[in-house]
Symmetry: C2
Subunit: 131 residues, 2 copies
DNA sequence: GGCATATATTCCTATATGGGAATATACTAT
DNA sequence: ATAGTATATTCCCATATAGGAATATATGCC
């Protein structure tokens, strides 16, 4: 008896692309595959100087999420980037692009004006507050 | 005695922007702040229907990373998005944009593919040499 | 002062790491 | 078969959650 409380600890790295690319080494691996060609585990190991088991594990995470695909050739595993899987991240960021893309447009200007107004107002409100 | 082996478990969510935005609820919070205006914790709570302590904690993470800034006004905390902090993610993704952005630009794609082939070839040559 | 409101913090716990070391598996060549 | 190479998997463990509940810390109002 008793109520079942479903806990939600930190999400698995294989949950989605956002979690998968949070790990720096995985981003490095992705960067190695960025040329669009297939690369063996050994190549990644040699380029990044990361222990082979670590590379295999990270590639496993990327594969589960779909960011990379694998092809067997003999004893080799040829990993290839599936860049379209990164698009959701880019799409989410699209909304914020404008904030740093155009430094001279009205957005920043308006934000600064608002901040100035509020600053004046809150100084007034918060005046004689001391303890 | 024995050697001290520094372990490196999963990085903290406050390590960098990539880790901070891996959590879906934090992205939702960011989206609420996306209008560029200041929002109180209560507003976020009401909009997203997330328990207040959870919102405060998530905002704390975002603040540590610098994605949001806070201003006190009375008992209120006014949170504001600092979108420029998201730029590193966008910059990293820039490299992959071409894979989904220009589906009709065959010329550019082929040129890049050829360049990639060349680079891969020289990598392989280098590797064989070391062996 | 006394009380309500807004927000932050603490305590708890199940879960998921990422790295190292060792081992297993699969394939190749002789 | 035997040995060697390429890659994956397993075991172990210190660390960091995210959520819920309860509590603490302001601050505002009368």
């Amino acid at each position: 008896m008793g109520i079942y409380y479903p806990l939600m600890p930190r999400a698995a790295t294989t949950t989605d692309v956002f979690n998968a690319i949070a790990e720096p080494r995985r981003r490095e691996i992705i960067d190695v595959l960025a040329d669009g060609n297939e690369h063996t585990v050994g190549e990644v190991v040699e380029i990044l100087r990361i222990p082979q088991p670590a590379v295999s594990k990270h590639l496993g995470v990327l594969r589960k999420v779909g960011i990379v695909s694998v092809t067997k050739r003999g004893q080799l595993r040829l990993y290839r980037l599936e860049p379209k899987e990164l698009k959701p991240v880019h799409d989410w960021l699209k909304k914020y692009e404008r904030f740093w893309a155009h430094h001279f447009d009205r957005i920043k200007e308006r934000a600064e004006r608002r901040a100035a107004d509020r600053s004046a107002q809150s100084s007034r409100l918060l005046k004689d507050k001391e303890k």
